[in-house]
């Protein structure tokens, strides 16, 4: 690893603006005069025929402007279409998500009607008067039962409930898997259905401006440009007439990177009613009708040589993706992204994987921090723990012997992913030293003698970040462009507006982008203004997800900065009447090689704009640089988590006593922001391991639709998180940057549950997360019985 000087923490201005209540979230956006408000009528049934809708009494409420049903929208608004490239190497069946259900509802919370009213109070009251006659049908609520031939079909036009299926690696029944002399371990692992639960729920405000023919849609979204694509397609309006603005967004975590029916409906109604329309999601809607995530059931087997070296991994995953396939990642998102995460950072010579997305009568699945990647370590780290137990080895040793070595990069994983750089074993050692692993093991033994159940969990993982176009091409995800853009607009006074296609959900990207520009251009922070989140002012690009902000957005910005410096050099050279090779850019200005004479940034900006300066035609006036950037690789960050937990054997309560993270996300632009990302992710990972679960009953009723039932970690559940960094730059990306947005939530679940199982000294064949006190008690009882 190359030693680098650590950058100081970035500016606090952006954070303070948000923390001091000076942010402008969707509900803070000043509503135009005459704004109408929406309330959605949602299905209480998981699966039912809609026989009739009586909207008469709702329509008669004073203040109600319109009551809209599915039939009203059916011919005007095309359902949200999530498409994959048609190919032979996977099965994919489209299951479009309509703005409103028409003759059939497919999950509890699916909208069947909208009340448009002068204010939200009236809208809600009138929504309660919409009389819907449902004929309930048997619901598909279990992912395995959904695959039986007799199961009801979530989409009658499809032959069964399989929406996506892919195979990776060697066929599962190949003879190689029967090689003798190997130690085998197997298990069934369930990652619960969870959600990102941002503090600010979804929201949309849409206004049609007849003066300019522009439909402006403010949305609490991560993907302004892609949402504009989806709106354009569904509404049949040219994208040039649509403008999407993401104001400050109060958390998103992937849950706001889908195009949603509510966004479609609000935009459409603003357009046809010629009045602004607003909808703010409440928490009940957020938990039942926004996107859910994960919900994976994986059967897996690992075989190793007696010394612990992995011989092969074979896995089959079922992903319960709910009722519809979502734009832009489609329901392939979980099964496809779990594939590279199963071999993880290890050398696996033989691999077989089948991932299936299964439709059920539950809320559709979308992205959530890590997407399918956390499912990999849940399985593989669990199998490695079992292997260590079976071989009588330390769990750390079976990891160390299998990690890809520092001199093997670039390394092509068996899953097809290219690992560009890293030092996995070095990072493991760094984290173990920080945690005093040997000391923890000694303490565990001593405390066990005192009857205390201490356990230690270690997880090693990779985080694919800043996915490039090739990655989406490989997956067939044709609605994700895979690149980002940056524009640098320099005014005559030398001030820079940098517009980047990466909006912020509170990660302080503006601060990090400013740092990149200051370092690259050598200009002062005060001369830079960062513009994000508005399709009318930012270049086209993916948006903020898949840990792409710094890699892809930062990469585009650095590329633009490089082009700007070249242009500055040419401007200076023309001004001096010398060849461009005779000048170079240095510290915010251009220097003439012959005598050291300098033109600074402001002077050059003036030259580009002033009529006094003659410029060659090919150079021309004005100073605006555009750059699009497709990262040359999907760069792979890596991490190691070490958790020490104490389990109360009587109550099943878990207390996390120590938590260490070893993080290698390449050069850190803003260490404070990196650590914030890691900490937040660890908290969410603790949630998946111990608390969070969206539970449906056999009729498809959601039983955890309030925060009294869907438990998220509070400050008492999240320990002090000690983070130790390694900064291995990627040889391929701009400035060697790697992403970090999802790391915490990938590493935490296996470290935490591994520690719990270590504490109770039991590795069950069937692991159900989260490990609630009840489940832990049951495991303790099963252990006693076995």
């Amino acid at each position: 690893m190359q030693e680098r000087e650590r950058r100081p923490a970035g500016g606090a201005a952006e954070l303070l603006r948000l923390l001091h209540g000076r942010g402008c979230y969707l509900d803070d956006v000043q509503t135009p005069r005459g704004t109408l408000h929406l309330a959605f009528v949602r299905s209480p049934h998981a699966r039912a025929k809609v026989l009739s809708l009586d909207v008469e009494s709702a329509r008669n409420v004073a203040g109600v402007v319109r009551v809209v049903t599915g039939a009203d929208l059916a011919h005007a608004v095309r359902p949200i279409s999530a498409r994959l490239q048609a190919r032979d190497d996977y099965v994919y069946r489209e299951a479009d998500w309509p703005a409103l259900a028409t003759d059939e509802v497919r999950y509890v919370g699916e909208a069947v009607a909208i009340v448009v009213a002068e204010n939200r109070y009236v809208a809600e009251d009138a929504a309660a008067l919409v009389d819907v006659d449902y004929e309930p049908q048997p619901a598909v609520s279990d992912v395995e039962a959904a695959l039986s031939e007799t199961a009801p079909r979530v989409h009658a036009h499809l032959p069964d409930n399989v929406l996506y299926r892919q195979h990776s690696g060697t066929p599962a029944d190949a003879a190689e898997f029967n090689a003798p002399g190997l130690v085998r371990v197997r298990g069934r692992f369930r990652h619960p259905r969870v959600t990102g639960l941002s503090l600010e729920a979804r929201g949309v405000l849409a206004e049609y401006r007849e003066s300019s023919g522009e439909l402006v849609v403010w949305s609490s979204t991560q993907i302004p440009h892609l949402l504009r694509d989806a709106l354009s397609e569904s509404l049949g309006l040219p994208a040039s007439n649509l403008r999407v603005i993401a104001p400050d967004v109060g958390g998103a975590f992937g849950t706001k990177m889908q195009a949603f029916p509510e966004e479609l409906a609000a935009a459409f109604l603003a357009y046809v009613l010629k009045r602004p329309v607003k909808w703010i999601e409440d928490r009940l809607e957020n938990l039942q009708a926004s996107c859910h995530a994960r919900d994976a059931l994986v059967d897996a087997e690992l075989a190793a040589h007696p010394d612990g070296r992995i011989a092969w991994i074979r896995a089959r995953g079922l992903f319960d993706v709910g009722a519809y396939s979502t734009f832009p990642l489609t329901c392939a998102l979980e099964p496809a992204t779990a594939a590279p995460a199963l071999p993880g950072p290890y050398r696996v010579p033989l691999f077989s994987y089948e991932g299936t997305a299964v439709a059920t009568n539950k809320a559709p699945e979308g992205a959530y921090r890590g997407v399918g990647v956390p499912v990999g370590p849940i399985v593989t780290e669990g199998l490695l723990n079992k292997l260590a137990y079976k071989l009588g080895k330390d769990p750390v040793d079976v990891r160390r012997i299998n990690l890809v070595k520092a001199d093997e990069f670039p390394y092509e994983s068996i899953s097809g992913a290219i690992f560009d750089s890293g030092d996995y074993a070095g990072l493991l050692q760094l984290a173990l030293d920080r945690a005093d692993y040997a000391g923890l093991r000694r303490m565990q033994q001593q405390q066990r003698a005192n009857g205390k159940l201490l356990g230690i969990g270690v997880s090693c993982f990779i985080e694919p970040t800043g996915m490039n176009r090739n990655t989406y091409r490989t997956r067939g995800m044709i609605q994700v462009p895979g690149f980002d853009g940056a524009i640098l607009r320099v005014d005559p006074a030398g001030r820079i507006e940098a517009a980047i296609s990466i909006p912020s959900q509170g990660q302080t990207q503006a601060t990090a982008f400013t740092t990149l520009l200051v370092e690259s251009l050598g200009v002062s922070e005060e001369t830079i203004h960062i513009t994000l989140g508005d399709t009318a002012r930012t270049p086209y690009g993916c948006g903020t997800f898949a840990s792409r902000g710094m890699v892809s957005g930062g990469g585009a910005l650095l590329k633009a900065a490089r082009k700007l410096k070249e242009r500055m050099c040419r401007l200076a050279a023309q001004s001096w009447g010398v060849d461009a090779s005779q000048v170079h850019y240095q510290n915010g200005g251009v220097v003439r090689a012959s005598d050291g004479v300098r033109l600074d940034f402001q002077q050059l900006a003036a030259i580009a704009h002033s009529p006094l300066q003659r410029l060659d035609d090919d150079l021309g006036p004005g100073l605006e640089i555009h750059a699009f950037y497709d990262p040359p690789v999907t760069t792979i960050a890596s991490g190691v988590h070490v958790a020490l937990v104490e389990v109360d054997g009587e109550t099943g309560h878990v207390a996390i006593r120590k938590y260490v993270v070893g993080e290698d996300c390449g050069p850190m632009v803003n260490p404070q922001a990196v650590e914030g990302q890691v900490r937040g992710g660890v908290a969410q990972g603790i949630g998946s391991a111990l608390l969070e679960e969206l539970r449906y009953d056999s009729d498809g009723q959601l039983l955890t639709a309030t925060l009294a039932d869907y438990l998220i970690p509070g400050s008492c559940d999240v320990p002090n998180i000690d983070i130790v960094h390694m900064e291995t730059p990627s040889p391929y990306t701009e400035n060697g940057l790697k992403g970090v947005g999802e790391s915490g939530v990938i590493g935490a679940p296996p470290a935490v549950y591994g520690a719990v199982l270590d504490a109770i000294d039991f590795h069950p064949d069937h692991l159900e997360l989260p490990l609630t006190p009840e489940r832990i008690r049951n495991l303790i009882l099963s252990r006693a019985a076995s």
């Binding site: 509890v108 449902y134 039942q288 009723q701």
Partner: protein, 186 residues
């Protein structure tokens, strides 16, 4: 949700049977019942009932159908109601047994119900206690309607008579244990 229970009413089996088949009596006794009338077409009753489960208030429109009628001993009923905040549907079996102690009648019932929508989402943890409370109120109302005293509300007499006073408190505790008159939620 399932519940079973029994309550004694101070009237003959026939009188109890008549009451349980009389829309007017049912309407008066079902807590939150806005309307209940015989459905001339399909048999059974059409009903509108308001109910609250925790913070959710529901106005359910639906119907009740009777089957396996063995007058004056037993019937089965199926109920189904739907409103903006969700739905409730289920079945119940009601059996009337002359009480051993005297002229009264023991009303034994089992019920199972499903709820959905906001009712289930916000109220699922509260539904058992809410259902028990409603059953309790119904039988109190019925007892009162049939000329007996409500067990729910202590009357003047219980306040002055030591024996009955003891019964009030003691009876309440017994009820909680699922003895006499208590509905046991499972």
């Amino acid at each position: 949700m399932e519940m079973t229970g029994q309550r004694e009413v101070p009237v003959s089996q026939q009188a109890a049977w008549d009451a349980l088949n009389d829309p007017e009596v049912l309407k008066a006794c079902i807590p939150g019942c806005e309307s209940l009338e015989l459905d001339q077409e399909g048999g059974g009753f059409k009903a509108v009932v308001r109910a609250a489960v925790g913070p959710v208030r529901a106005r359910l429109k639906g119907r009740v159908d009777l089957s396996d009628i063995v007058a004056p001993e037993s019937y089965k009923l199926a109920f189904k109601g739907e409103g903006a905040t969700g739905f409730a549907q289920g079945e119940s079996e009601v059996r009337l047994v002359p009480s051993e102690a005297g002229a009264g009648t023991l009303i034994c019932y089992t019920a199972n119900a499903k709820i959905g929508g906001k009712l289930a989402q916000v109220g699922s943890r509260l539904i058992d206690s809410a259902a028990n409370k409603l059953a309790g109120e119904f039988f109190s109302n019925l007892t009162q309607h049939l000329g007996g005293e409500s067990e729910e509300k202590p009357s003047d007499a219980t306040a002055t008579e030591p024996a009955k006073k003891k019964k009030g408190m003691f009876g309440f505790m017994k009820k909680d244990k699922g003895d006499k008159g208590a509905a046991e939620a499972q």
